[in-house]
């Protein structure tokens, strides 16, 4: 009887073990891929690689991509790269999400880390690169590469770290930029202000309000025109995120917890709203591109991406406004406004490259080769020179040709446009002061929600509404619902999938029952076998 009890325990233990194993096997999915590097790249075959890229409505960037593809295909004639260009990351994101459902994702895609995290939650598996980069043959600077690419050590460590999710490397950095405060120095100094090396928020708000002074005829004193929006911020999600980081206030954490609805956020939003009410401040979504207003002399302080530097300034090589609307002024570049000038914090942004897994490992290897080619000096340097981008490799940053390009900044209004090179120098001098926000499934929604709150507050006060505690409380609720904050929480690498569905519980019970039956059968069989002996 005692022995039978022990057998019973054994059976139960077996069943329980089976249950646990089954649960582990069924519930939860590896977010990344289990791509394994082939023995060698099969060059006897033809490969079609689809590459989705983003440009900044800048024809030179398109030409660089096209040259990059042509140069790569010359090295690897059996790989054919088909490129589709976008000018908006969010459209790439939407298209990838749509194509995940039909298993028609591109092979290589320029994208944001936040977006990669979302791709990883679907069937469109991202190839993790942490092992690939160190492969001695086909990894970074590998022996079998047909081009002179960077080694792992030659990629700016901070930029590589930005793409780590847990132990996994989600992609490679392609370009890095930040935001800059573009200042119409001519007008600001005419107003009697000196421009600090690191402007504070207080300084920016004070100058903005002062710029609203009007002449008796109703025109603005600073520009003599009917229109003046002193301060425009292009990306209001970045605005709130950066302000919160500068205040060491909550936004989110690595586990995907939403921390943005806090007192500091309320204080910041009220301050922004107070300047929205006077119309000293506006946003891209409400008014339009800050560069257009600035070039027309209708804006004196603009925060925009350094990747938009060639659109800003009297002599900007690119422009959306007619020449007869432009005014002459001197542009200076500064870090985004700070709360503590001795502790600068600015966002790190810019495109990264991810690779989608496919059934054919050789095709994936071909994609990986192309992704690496994007980090070669020629591509890195030529692309970074199109805008206020910084190459992501030390190999390119320290290349004498690139250093010469920077040294010639301001010598012309084309390749060496001064505002652009000033932006690059500003970023290079502040790499250690840049930050990124945690990446998780839902981080894109949180980012959108941050921008939405700034837009809502500014619109509300422009429309004679009030932004107070009650308003903020209501808005937090609405924004949470609109962006389903909290519903997608959890880091992709270790997300909590919630309680088991009932159907799974029933199925697992069946498995446990089968194990028990099999156990009983085995024991019974042995018992009779012993008896027969």
């Amino acid at each position: 009887m005692i022995k039978m009890k022990r057998f019973g325990k054994f059976i139960l233990s077996l069943a329980a073990a089976g249950l646990v194993l089954s649960m582990a096997g069924c519930h939860g999915k590896q977010a990344g891929s289990d791509f394994e590097m082939p023995e060698a790249f099969d060059e006897s075959r033809e490969y079609e690689i689809v590459f989705w890229a983003k440009n900044d409505t800048n024809q030179t960037q398109t030409q660089i991509y096209e040259k990059c593809v042509a140069d790569f295909e010359a090295l690897y004639p059996n790989i054919h790269v088909s490129m589709k260009l976008y000018n908006d990351y969010s459209v790439i994101y939407n298209d990838v999400i749509t194509n995940i459902a039909t298993d028609t994702t591109p092979n290589v895609c320029i994208t944001y880390p936040d977006h990669i995290a979302t791709y990883m939650t679907g069937d469109g598996e991202i190839v993790f690169l942490e092992d690939l980069i160190d492969d001695p043959r086909y990894g970074l600077a590998g022996s079998e590469l047909k081009f002179d690419g960077p080694s792992t050590d030659e990629i700016v460590p901070k930029y590589l770290d930005e793409l780590m999710l847990g132990d996994h490397l989600m992609g490679l950095p392609f370009m890095r930029s930040s935001e800059a405060l573009y200042i119409n120095k001519t007008y600001v100094e005419a107003m009697g202000y000196e421009i600090p090396d690191v402007p504070t928020w207080d300084w920016v708000w004070e100058v903005s309000e002062a710029a609203l002074a009007q002449n008796p005829d109703g025109t603005y004193a600073v520009n003599g025109q009917d229109v003046m929006i002193p301060f425009i911020y292009k990306s209001t999600d970045n605005m709130l995120i950066t302000m919160l980081r500068q205040c060491n206030a909550g936004y989110s954490d690595d586990m995907g917890n939403i921390l943005i609805f806090n007192e500091t956020t309320g204080s910041i939003l009220k301050e922004i709203a107070s300047h929205g009410r006077t119309k000293a401040f506006s946003t891209f979504k409400i008014s339009s591109y800050p560069g257009n207003f600035m070039n027309a002399g209708q804006c004196i302080l603009a925060v925009d991406s350094t990747a938009g530097a060639t659109w800003i300034g009297s002599n900007a090589p690119l422009s959306d406004i007619h020449d007869n609307k432009k005014v002459e002024f001197e542009t200076v570049v500064r870090p985004v406004p700070q709360y503590d000038p001795s502790n600068i914090k600015m966002i790190s942004q810019g495109p990264s490259v991810c690779i989608f897994n496919k059934d054919d490992e050789q095709e994936v290897l071909a994609s990986w080769l192309f992704a690496q080619f994007l980090l070669t000096n020629e591509v890195q340097e030529s692309y970074s020179e199109t805008e206020g981008y910084v190459p992501v490799t030390l190999k390119a940053q320290n290349d004498p040709a690139y250093l010469e390009y920077l040294s010639l900044g301001g010598s012309d209004n084309d390749l060496h446009y001064g505002v652009k090179t000033d932006c690059v120098n500003m970023i290079l001098g502040n790499i250690d002061n840049t930050f990124i926000t945690p990446v998780f499934n839902g981080s894109t929604s949180l980012r959108n929600a941050a921008g939405q709150m700034v837009e809502n507050c500014v619109k509300t006060v422009r429309r004679k509404g009030t932004v107070d505690d009650a308003y903020l409380e209501q808005m937090y609720t609405e924004v949470s619902q609109m962006y389903r904050l909290g519903e997608q929480r959890g880091n992709v690498g270790s997300r909590d999938l919630g309680p088991l569905p009932k159907t799974s519980v029933i199925l697992l019970s069946c498995i446990a029952f089968a194990w028990i039956c099999m156990g009983i059968y085995v024991i019974k069989d042995r018992f009779y076998a012993k008896k027969r002996r």
Binding site: S22, G25, C26, G28, K29, N55, T57, Q59, T62, K84, L85, Y86, N87, G122, D123, I286, S287, S288, Y289, N292, D320, I321, H322, K325, K459, R462, R463, K464, L497, G498, P499, P501, K502, T503, S504, L507, C510, I511, F513, A514, C517, M518, I520, Y521, K524
Partner: protein, 271 residues
């Protein structure tokens, strides 16, 4: 017993395989127990309230049909309203861009002037009813983006029993380059005998907007094939893509504004 066990094990295996085969199911939310009697009672209450609301609506709609609602502005009042003011107008749909995410951008016009509705809140079902000429009542905020005057953050309702109005294109060729042109902003317009200067794809590839530069009497003007308006009309897209410098054309469209006139073209006639 042996057979029974084998069958159980096989069944469990099959069930397990079918359960594990798709590992990316959306998280399942536990369904609460449903009290069907209480539900039926609640549904009856809702039906009663819905019936009452419907009869109230009938009365309201009669008033709407008279198109004399309080708060509805004439076009002149709308034009005179300050930016950021709340406005309510009754106008007629002329065309719209593609519906997306419960929003739709609509080109409207009545006998007095035109109004651009940016990202109007709209269900997909209602979007299908926003056909050319249909009358709608819109409430939103007067806004301006890059020189384009529009109504944003707006909601709308169909005018019950409303009439139809389809605007005829107004020839503004002689207004090109003048300060008067902006007075016709968003209207359905036509420019005749224009010469093609250049055609460029947004992103330098087909599949998105097309920027067309046309000239008249030595001055150049910007036009745009807005992809979300008529990019899905492949024949039209190909026609505009294939325009060549030097060709003479008549173009129809809506007089949109982006840092100056930037007509969204709807028709091109090559002469």
């Amino acid at each position: 017993m042996k057979k029974f066990t084998a069958v159980c094990a096989a069944a469990a295996l099959v069930l397990t395989l079918s359960a594990c085969g798709k590992t990316t199911e959306a998280p399942v939310v536990e369904q609460p127990e449903i009290d069907t009697d209480a539900l039926a009672s609640d549904l009856n209450d809702v039906a009663d309230q819905f019936g009452e609301a419907l009869s109230d609506l009938d009365t309201d709609t009669d008033t709407d049909a008279d198109a004399a609602d309080d708060g509805v502005m004439s076009y002149a009042d709308y034009a005179a309203a300050a930016l950021d003011d709340e406005v309510t107008v009754v106008t007629y749909v002329q065309a719209h861009q593609s519906w997306w995410d419960n929003k739709i951008t609509v080109y409207c016009q009545d006998q007095d002037g035109a109004i651009f509705l940016y990202e109007l809140a709209c269900s997909e079902e209602d979007a299908a009813k926003l056909t050319e000429g249909v009358q709608i009542k819109v409430t939103g905020f007067k806004s301006e983006w890059a020189g384009e005057t529009e109504i944003t953050d707006a909601t709308f309702e169909f005018v019950e029993g409303g009439d139809l109005f389809v605007a005829a294109p107004k020839d503004l060729t002689d207004k090109l380059g003048t300060d008067e042109l902006i007075d016709y902003q968003n209207q359905k317009v036509i420019f005749t005998d224009m010469t093609v200067v250049s055609v460029a794809f947004k992103n330098d590839q087909p599949g998105d907007d097309i920027y067309v530069t046309l000239s008249k009497d030595g001055a150049e003007y910007s036009f745009c094939l807005e992809y979300y308006l008529n990019g899905s009309d492949q024949e039209f897209y190909d026609l505009v893509s294939g325009l060549e410098a030097g060709q003479v054309v008549d173009v129809e469209g809506f007089l949109y504004w982006y840092e100056g006139a930037n007509t969204h073209i709807t028709s091109v006639t090559v002469k």
